[in-house]
């Protein structure tokens, strides 16, 4: 029985090695990471548009900024980084960021 188990282990290892040598592509699977935005008016709109291009931790890692800075950042995403955000929704996002991640200024 013992010999049989050892043989089984050897065959399994050999099988893995063979599969690896056949597998030419080097592949990884990125982990799914969930980041929750602060609850508040405009959260859904913010999540909907911002997460087209990047994870929401891009927002949550920032320090608190005045509304003027959030306005510059959202406009940069639209004009420079090519985010397809209609003007009315951009306003909702800026208001949300200023309210939830703002300095109050």
């Amino acid at each position: 029985m013992k010999k049989f188990i050892i043989l089984l282990i050897i065959l399994t290892i050999a099988g893995f090695a063979y599969a690896q040598s056949k597998e030419a592509a080097h592949s990884i699977v990125l982990p799914a990471v969930k980041t929750d935005l602060a609850a508040g008016e405009g959260m859904d709109t913010t999540e909907k548009y911002c997460s087209i291009c990047h994870s929401l931790d891009y927002i949550t890692m920032q320090p608190k900024f005045p509304k003027a800075t959030w306005t510059v950042e959202v406009n940069k995403m639209i004009k420079v980084m090519g985010a397809p955000i209609p003007e009315a929704d951009a306003k909702v996002i800026i208001d949300y960021l200023a309210a939830q991640y703002g300095t109050g200024g």
Partner: protein, 396 residues
Amino acid sequence: MGPANFSRRNFLKAAGAVSAMAAVHGFPAELLAYERRMARFPEKTDLILLTSRPPQLETPLSYFKEMITPNEALFVRWHIANVPTSVDVNEWRLKVGGNTEKELALSIDDLKKFEKVTFTAVIQCSGNGRSLFEPRVAGGQWKDGAMGNVTWTGARLKDVLNSAGLKTGTVDVSFNGLDKPPLPTVPDFVKSLPVDNALEEDIIVAYEMNGKPLTMLNGFPARLIVPGWYATYWVKSLSDITVLSKPFEGFWVKSAYRIPDTDCGCVPPGTSPKKTIPINRMTTRSLIIDPSASSELTLNKPATIMGVAFSGGRGIQDVIVSVDGGKRWEETRLGEDEGKYSWRQFFYEWRPTKPGKYTLMARATDTIGESQPYEGLWNPAGFLRNKVEKTEVIVK
């Protein structure tokens, strides 16, 4: 791989470290809207998670006690969401073309036929230390862990370019990788170097880091190494080299990764520069690694102050340290010299004889006399941080 990787213990550990750092750097911890999580990505160990898509992962400072940063601990920084996650090396080709005599499509074996070059070089993100800027600036909120010291092996870019044959009138050379934008409107991540820089001896297309294939997240199967320059130019998962007879106009050089065109690369805090240039060589920098911030040391017991110092590819001349907040400075002993692109370790034997709080500081000077400012130099993008940092410790 899933969210289960983010253990509460590690999360709390990171959050605690952030609070300690915040206290040392003089701003209250509550101003940090973001508490740092740890995450384990493929082929990497537990690193500090900045963002997950695209991945941005920071190295905990304790890894810098070693001369060489292990592959699994090296920081990760991608720009656009669709990062390569699968590469078949039998299919992969490095295409070289544009203003050249011929077009090349090099396999990894072709690349390995060029003379093999190996050296150790610091890789550092342009925004390393950005979160320590005051006033704070938007962007990846790195502390000091967006750097590492790695032994790279590859083919000289110069040899690759010469085998394609540069035609006259070449101005710039651009570099594109396998990462792709999430929308056609998002600018693809493409970088360029002026041709004179691109032909410099020590720029390589690396296919090994620390003697092993590159990890996927650090640019498998090959990446550009521009030693002495910030890592924004070290294009990962390189796929296309294009030789240009006109200046490169792409977003990531023309509009992003720019510094004020002033002697210090800085402007008065909160202001905008009148003129900017592309970021280039790294500024001279040092960091005390051991003891770490907020450590408790024992009275009358010898304690070695250890850290790392590096420059924009000119080696390190000397490092001085202070244990009293900069009133008196002492010479340190430098560790092994692994070449001008590597960092240099420094050591100072200290025996604290009075209890209390101490402010440790280090200041490096490179071989052409470039050193570090005592106060932070500010620019709107949060680049070039190299001020003399303060590490507070307690002696009991």
